[in-house]
């Protein structure tokens, strides 16, 4: 007999994930719902008798009406529409006790399903502080289900919840409300069809009928069972009839539900006279954090501190990882005889894995800070600030977080677009995210700056100024193309932002750290495997066909498949001031941009890694065209940096875009528009530079 399955359901910011982590501890696994890019969080809790209970943490939503893929998954799992996920036996609804009436809409819909429900009132400490008194006994009696007061963040109420979950005899709710008379006939007919043709149990059928009648823009995702044609026809006929009568049936149903909830809460929530007056701590912080002027100061300060921390703190673990990878490669060289196997392991496997792992500290730190800002409640304020700027290019403030994440790596940024409801906004954000300069571009920028600036040491101001310029150029490109796409290819007004801003809280560090690990692991899983595979393929392209015995590494590279590709590429890149040797670097950096640096090292027979660029810098300065002209002029170095700002040179990003969009069309378009833009901009820059005498 399978363990009972509990679904954990709640609105955003109610503490659902905190409760899930408290219930399941380390007994969790994260996967994906098949066919759709929504994470599946499943864990195991244990009853008072030590029996396992499966808990599925469903995506947060305000209602079962789905407007985004994750909300569609919530709806489909609860209605038993997904073959890959069993319909839950029981449901745990968690609500924010400080705002019961507002949070009960989803619960009201869930109670329609006729499944045993346990209602958890979270943040009871905050409710008490706000002077609210919740009549728990009356609530249990009225609703006919267990009501558990809880403070998930410190575990209060967890034991009572587990005891409730352990009960064999959880009652069904006494929930009953009046569907408006004009709609009742439609509900009855739809319910009958869902029962007879779609095989739904009667109560589920009624809940689904109500949802179908209010769900205007029903998002369907892969894995969701479609309606029986007869049911779909009944729905269509009623919708047409009401459209002809001018009846807003959806509004009627929603208002009826709200009235039912209001009547419920009138008897269950008390505000004894001594409620605290005056501004809360959140109000006082928001007076500054959301101030039209001071708010920007706070925002820029927070972002600057975050990025400064990421790029400085990450340096130590990155250097350590670099050193360990080099030591591992040396160890392999020591053990194995020279040959293809040794090369494959050192350059292909270790080199490829190293290219991913070395950036993990930056990515993890970024996830940590984003999680920290989300946990404190500030991230919603940041989205509020950015909404105006995003609105100018056709997006809304929610697109800010994926674009911000893309500064570490576009892959987690693209994956986090799943929270953007509007399909066109989401696609636009995915298409422009790689233009936000990622960490992998930094080694290329640093090498080019070292070659570009005369002398042995580059002044810090010059270095920072040039890097900042490149970052700004990338961001400008991202916003520019977002503006263009929202007016042409993905035409549409920006979807309005409707975002609840949670009260400020002390961050729950264990939850933040756990989330950081989960996201980093997801990144390694999706990007790491792709980069490793591509690195091995590229190793093959650089290692074959073999040069005559005794040839230098540079000579081998020159006549390899990659070298031949570089030669083939030369007519296209020569107008930009690049030759076939740089062309090889452009080809190999499709695995990961920073591979350009090591490739140049091989091409120009220079030792030294990403940090110690001195020998390579000298080798680049001495490199020439066949006619003796310097190859890496300051203009060429500058142009190459700009090329890397705009060009799409990360096959693993393209693979993730393919997965997130479900089509090869969009990654192909992304590759074309970004690389085309890079070529055009570099052509303009190099010719303007030459005209000005550079």
């Amino acid at each position: 007999m399978r363990p009972p399955v509990y679904a954990l359901v709640g609105t955003p910011n109610c503490g659902k994930t905190t409760l899930f982590n408290a219930l399941t501890g380390l007994n969790q696994k994260i996967g994906n719902y098949p066919g759709v890019t929504v994470e599946k969080h499943e864990g195991t809790a244990y009853s008072q008798h030590g029996q396992p209970m499966t808990v599925i943490d469903l995506p947060g939503a305000y209602s079962l009406a789905a407007r985004a893929p994750d909300e569609a998954v919530l709806r489909d799992v609860l209605l038993g529409r997904r073959a890959d996920t069993p319909q839950p036996d029981r449901i745990i609804c968690i609500v924010d006790a400080t705002n019961l009436e507002r949070n009960l809409y989803l619960v009201h819909q869930v109670l329609d399903l006729g499944r045993p429900v346990i209602l958890v009132l979270n943040m009871m400490d905050l409710a008490a502080r706000a002077g609210l008194r919740l009549r728990l006994g009356r609530m249990e009696q009225t609703l006919g289900l267990p009501v558990i007061p809880c403070v998930a963040i410190n575990g209060t109420g967890l034991l009572e919840l587990k005891l409730a979950m352990s009960r064999h005899d959880l009652p069904l709710s006494r929930h009953n409300w009046d569907v408006p008379a004009p709609i009742a006939a439609a509900v009855t007919e739809l319910q009958a069809s869902l029962t007879n043709h779609d095989g739904k149990p009667p109560l589920i059928a009624r809940a689904e009928a109500l949802l179908l009648l209010t769900d205007r823009d029903s998002v369907r995702v892969a894995g969701s069972t479609p309606l029986h044609p007869r049911t779909a026809e009944i729905l269509r006929q009623w919708q047409q009839r009401w459209a002809a009568e001018g009846t807003d049936w959806a509004e009627m149903l929603v208002n009826a539900r709200h009235r039912s909830i209001a009547r419920l809460c009138a008897n269950l929530v008390e505000h004894p006279g001594a409620a605290p007056t005056g501004r809360s701590a959140s109000d006082r912080i928001d007076a500054v954090a959301t101030h039209p002027w001071w708010g920007w100061v706070v925002f820029i300060g927070v972002m600057a501190a975050m990025f400064f921390s990421i790029f400085t703190l990450a340096e130590y673990p990155m250097n350590w990882i670099d050193g360990r990878m080099a030591a591992l490669a040396d160890g392999v060289k020591h053990v194995l005889a020279p040959g293809d196997l040794r090369d494959l392991l050192t350059n292909g496997v270790i080199g490829g894995a190293g290219a991913v792992i070395v950036f993990l500290p930056q990515i993890m730190l970024l996830f940590f800070f984003i999680g920290l800002l989300e946990s404190t409640g500030y991230m919603a304020r940041a989205a509020f600030f950015m909404d105006r700027l995003m609105g100018r290019v056709g997006l809304n403030g929610r697109a800010f977080i994926p674009l911000l994440s893309s500064h570490a790596c576009a892959i987690p940024g693209i994956m986090s677009t799943r929270t953007i409801e509007d399909k066109r906004d989401r696609l636009t954000t995915i298409l422009v995210a790689p233009l936000m300069s990622c960490s992998a571009r930094l080694p290329v920028f640093l090498l080019m700056i070292a070659a570009l600036v005369p002398g042995d040491r580059v002044p810090v101001v010059t270095k920072v100024g040039l890097i900042l310029f490149m970052y700004t150029l990338g961001a400008a490109g991202a916003f520019g193309f977002a503006w263009l796409f929202k007016r042409t290819l993905l035409k549409g007004a920006p979807s309005p932002m409707i975002l609840e801003m949670p009260p400020y809280r002390v961050p729950a560090l264990p939850a933040v750290v756990r989330q950081m690990w989960e996201r980093a692991w997801a990144f390694l899983g999706s990007a790491g495997t792709v980069i490793l595979g591509i690195s091995i393929v590229l190793w093959f392209l650089t290692a074959y066909p073999k040069a005559p015995a005794g040839a230098t590494p540079g000579a081998q590279l020159a006549q390899s498949y990659a070298g031949r590709a570089g030669h083939l590429l030369e007519p296209v890149i020569k107008p930009l001031g690049f030759d076939w040797q740089i062309g090889i670097g452009l080809v190999t950096s499709m695995a990961a941009r920073e591979v350009f640096v090591s490739t140049m090292g091989v091409v120009f027979n220079a030792e030294g890694g990403k940090k110690d660029t001195t020998p390579l810098r000298e080798a680049l300065r001495q490199a020439t065209w066949p006619d003796g002209r310097p190859l890496f002029t300051p203009l060429t170095c500058f142009t190459l940096m700009i090329y890397y700002v705009f060009a799409m040179q990360c096959l693993s990003t393209l693979a993730v875009v393919r997965r997130e969009t479900g089509s090869w069309k969009w990654p192909a378009f992304q590759l074309a528009y970004m690389t085309g833009t890079a070529w055009i901009v570099c052509f303009v820059v190099v010719n303007t530079g030459r005209a000005l005498g550079f």
Binding site: R216, D217, D248, A380, E500
Partner: protein, 94 residues
Amino acid sequence: MDQSPQTSSQPAKGERIRLTDLPVGTAGRVCDLEGEANVCARLREIGICESAVIERISGQHTLLCQLCGTRIALSDSAAKYIMVERLNGQKPKG
């Protein structure tokens, strides 16, 4: 009585206006949601439905509002659909 020209453009108490026209620092009772059905449905789900009391705290393009003790950020394109009846205001000078 001297009939001086009306100098205040502030909506009077009880006047039905869009949330975007509600002055900062004032509260209104939601009387209707008029506009794109999807957006109105979303507003209702988050609790902005008829007879809810909403206070405009700040913002122009993106409004910061307070509803049942919760702060909500609304783009003006959503806020313009919310018709409110001003609760605490002053009559225009007459």
